[in-house]
Amino acid sequence: MSFSEADIAAIWLTLRLATTVTLVLMVIGTPIAWWLARTRSWWKGPVGAVVALPLVLPPTVLGFYLLVAMGPNGPIGQVTQSLGLGTLPFTFWGLVVGSVFYSMPFVVQPIQNAIEALGERPLEVAATLRAGPWDRFFTVVLPLAKPGFLTAAILGFAHTVGEFGVVLMIGGNIPGETRVVSVQIYDHVEALEYAQAHALSGAMVIFSFVVLLVVYGYQRMQAPLGMKYRV
């Protein structure tokens, strides 16, 4: 397998995008997952459904709405313009925003499940030991729900790497800025450059396989610890 310079640029860009998106998602996905895991509010259903939408929507639908919403007349576009940031489509940060929406359920759901499995008790115990809310989060929730957080990070990263439809809709195929691996593969296929398409696709398949293998192996390893807490 040999990669062209453009392929390597696409791979590098993809890794940069996936890393950024994963970091952003861990920061904003955790409070959402926390809220979803613990609220008894009527809003739990609707909010959970919105988070899960990308699981069932074709990415092109999401991409199209994002294109319109982030455009000069869309609500997000209005905000970014008034902040002096211009509009987001065709930029790296536009892809980040799109990917954050798109990969959200893959990050929120594992964290939510882990927090739900944790239950109230460890937090109550920590509170009786004078641990305040942040203290409880960092010394109890984080270590006990670690498998959930790791799974979330890995899936969020991998899913962003594999993303195509949204990027296609809002990316504009700019080398080094928005031309990620999946788009590069698509271009190769459409241009009948099957050998290059094969090389990149093969790398992608191997990457995804390894990631899933690691996640499943890790979950099996951690499962006994998770169970221990439930008496």
Partner: protein
Amino acid sequence: MAVASNFTAPMKEIAAAFERSSGHRVTLSFGSSGKFFAQIKHGAPFQVFFSADRAKPEALEKAGLVVPESRFTYAVGALALWSVRPGYVDDDSARLKKGDFRKLALANPKLAPYGMAAVEVLQNLKLKEATQAKWVYGENISQTYQFVGSGNAELGFVAVSQIMDKGRIAKGFAWIVPGELHDPIRQDAVLLKRGAHSDAARALLHFVRGEKAAQILQSYGYKTLADVN
């Protein structure tokens, strides 16, 4: 029948007219030419292929998958520089020369003939280097249309057929690019080996070359090869 998706609307009308006049039934499948090409190579059961370019039918011909001599140009596309901003584009290239825009959308020249033609236009206008940093590629001509239509790109090169309705520009403002500025955007069709013995397929290909089809093509902003030559 596999039809390039940018030819969806006129083909529906042509097929309807054909069914009325011949009594044959036509099943249309719309999609990207590249995908159809890959599918046909791997045995997809299409009898006729209307591509959005010349390269793919030619490659299929070389691969021996088409009835010899059946390849012909069914339509010639026209290019327009289009914007949805009122007064942003007059019927000329002034805005391109001025260069005070942020993004210029065009179809990926590697994949789409309209994109290739757009690059030729910019080359002939000596604007390629000046504008290149502002290009954004649609993967195909309909995505390019979305980029401009949603306002994310101030202007872009689209197919006249996309913005033309009954001989008028339906939405936005456009400069219909003169045909001399680029090679003709020829869309070729072929009769595939699987359709070699189908009377209906041959009849349809004949109908597409006829007077009635030419009228329909024109109303959608396409030309025929005869117009160009």
